[in-house]
């Protein structure tokens, strides 16, 4: 799949933002006043910034409001609804803490639940697609949720929780890659089933429909940079898990904590780039590209 920068930024930063809002929502001793303002500002900036980035890739962004209507059937619509519900709930909760110093506990818990639900719905947009066997897995939601929770814990300064969650997310990521590498082969979809001609012999794409490229090839048959996949996976894992955990193991300092956050974000961005760039859509088979 085409690794569009807007979608990579959206899934990474909204995941981190909602992860941070989750931890702020369930905090038994939440910050108040200016400290609360800063924490919530970071959470909202990331979540809203991510959503705004996702609107950028729409062909008709001016009609984006229509995406709130089909929550009964569409995961993308559910995500839009959950995101707005989470942001509104957490906004009210934040207002109580920032301006009145008052902790509306049930509102915080509700906002935290909605924040996690938003991340779940994001992951389901990809996990639901049978056409992309690498994504079509029960492991895609745990991967997104663990990364969101780990990043949120890191941003909210929960050192021990962040370390263990990052290790869990790293393990899930390795397993997800291992499973994903076999997914297209195990899906049973080949050029033979795609054309219905597989029973007659070996099918080979002889001639494409057009000499030029097209939307399908640009959007769903991204094959560049696969040869660097292994190196990029190692880079992603080192920045996402190894470096931040090592920095958190050192005596706490605001500089090391900041470096840990930056490293983690860089690692997640790399992993998310691979999430899209490595994903094989079955339509590529028609073009002999797999």
């Amino acid at each position: 799949m085409h690794p569009a920068p807007s979608i990579i930024a959206f899934t990474t930063f909204s995941g981190l933002g909602f992860g941070l809002l989750f931890w702020l929502g369930i905090d038994a001793t939440p910050p108040t006043g200016w400290v609360a303002f800063v924490f919530f500002f970071i959470g909202f900036a990331m979540a809203v910034g991510g959503l705004a980035a996702s609107a950028k890739h729409l062909g008709r962004p001016e009609r984006a409001l229509k995406a709130f209507t089909q929550w009964r059937s569409s995961w993308l619509s559910r995500e839009a609804c959950c995101a707005v519900a989470a942001l509104v709930t957490m906004g009210l909760y934040a207002a109580g803490l920032v301006f009145a110093g008052y902790d509306l506990v049930p509102l915080g818990w509700l906002g935290a639940a909605l924040s996690l639900l938003t991340v779940l719905t994001t992951s389901m947009i990809y996990a639901q697609l049978k056409t992309v066997p690498r994504w079509h897995s029960v492991w895609t939601p745990p991967l997104f949720l663990s990364l969101s929770l780990a990043g949120g814990a890191l941003l909210s300064g929960r050192v021990t929780v962040a370390m263990s969650l990052m290790l869990i997310a790293g393990a899930l990521q390795v397993w997800w890659w291992y499973r994903g590498d076999k997914a297209l082969g195990q899906s049973g979809t080949t050029l033979g089933t795609a054309t219905g001609l597989g029973g007659r012999g070996t099918v080979r794409a002889f001639e494409p429909p057009h000499t030029g490229s097209n939307y399908l090839l640009r959007e769903m048959v991204y094959v560049v940079a696969r040869r660097h996949a292994l190196k990029l996976r190692i880079i992603a894992l080192v920045f996402m898990v190894v470096v931040p955990v090592a920095l958190l193991l050192a005596p706490f300092h605001h500089i090391t904590a900041l470096l840990a956050v930056l490293s983690h974000v860089a690692g997640v961005l790399t992993a998310r780039w691979l999430f899209f760039a490595e994903a094989e859509h079955v339509v590529g088979l028609y073009y002999g590209k797999r």
Binding site: H57, S73, S74, L129, R204, G212, H281, V282, Y287
Partner: protein, 248 residues
């Protein structure tokens, strides 16, 4: 609404005959010609006369080589457009309700006024039947020429999809699959019409007729008895020459 109808009154669709398709691309051109100036936004081209041309098409013809275990390879032309699936994944993923399947005839359409151009329906389609128009920013797909098949301003023989009407080798047939006696249903029964990518669970309405078995290279022609070589062994001067050359 992006829910799929539980059932449709009729099941309109195409039968595509892989045996007779000659890969002439006439259906591609007639489809683009009709649909760029009728229902919905035009099908735009980008850089059509430049070094990197591309554009929106609702129907594309691939060509595949099939190499059996023994015998010569076969070239099969493979037209591909929306299959108007009964279990269309492109419909349920739509966040705005722009993508829908009609209850009355099963045609899958996009309401372009509601489409936000998110592209998720194209991701959900295993067949590559949907293409985002780069100029319009909305999703385009085969409409089964809804503006032809019910169009009483057209002569009756033209009330079929443009691709079917234009096909010079009769490789495309249009009809109602819910009627077991329709021409398309009969073709599917007689010729073993098949689904493509059945494992994706989309239950496509359009069916493909597999190529008929070819004549075998080892088969002898009915004319063979009349075509036997007149003289197996050369005689006379040529016979002498043949033997003399063998000895050298």
């Amino acid at each position: 609404m992006t829910d799929l109808p539980a059932s449709t009154t009729r099941k309109l669709g195409l039968v595509i005959d892989l045996d007779t398709c000659v890969g002439c691309q006439a259906c591609v051109i007639s489809c683009k010609g009709w649909n760029t100036e009728n229902h919905g936004a035009p099908l735009s081209d980008q850089d059509p006369y430049g070094p990197d041309p591309s554009g929106t098409f609702l129907n594309r013809v691939h060509s595949y080589e099939v190499q059996p275990d023994t015998g010569p390879a076969q070239l099969i032309h493979f037209p591909k457009s929306c299959l108007h699936c009964e279990n269309a994944p492109c419909v349920t993923v739509c966040p705005t309700g722009a993508s829908y399947k009609r209850t009355e005839d099963g045609v899958v359409l996009v309401n372009e006024k509601d489409c936000i151009g998110c592209g998720l329906c194209a991701w959900a389609c295993p067949y590559g039947a949907r293409e985002m128009d780069a100029a319009e920013g909305v999703m385009k797909k085969c409409t089964l020429c809804v503006d032809r098949i019910y169009n009483e301003n057209l002569p009756e023989e033209d009330r079929t999809p443009a691709c079917v009407r234009t096909c010079p080798s009769n490789a495309r047939h249009f009809g109602d699959f819910s009627d077991p006696e329709s021409q398309v249903s009969q073709l599917v029964r007689e010729r073993g019409g098949m689904d493509i990518m059945p494992e994706q669970g989309t239950q496509p309405v359009n069916k493909y007729l597999p190529p008929r078995p070819r004549d075998d290279w080892a088969d002898t022609s009915v004319l063979a008895p009349y075509l036997t070589p007149v003289a197996e062994e050369p005689r006379g001067f040529l016979g002498w020459l043949d033997k003399a050359l063998d000895k050298i």
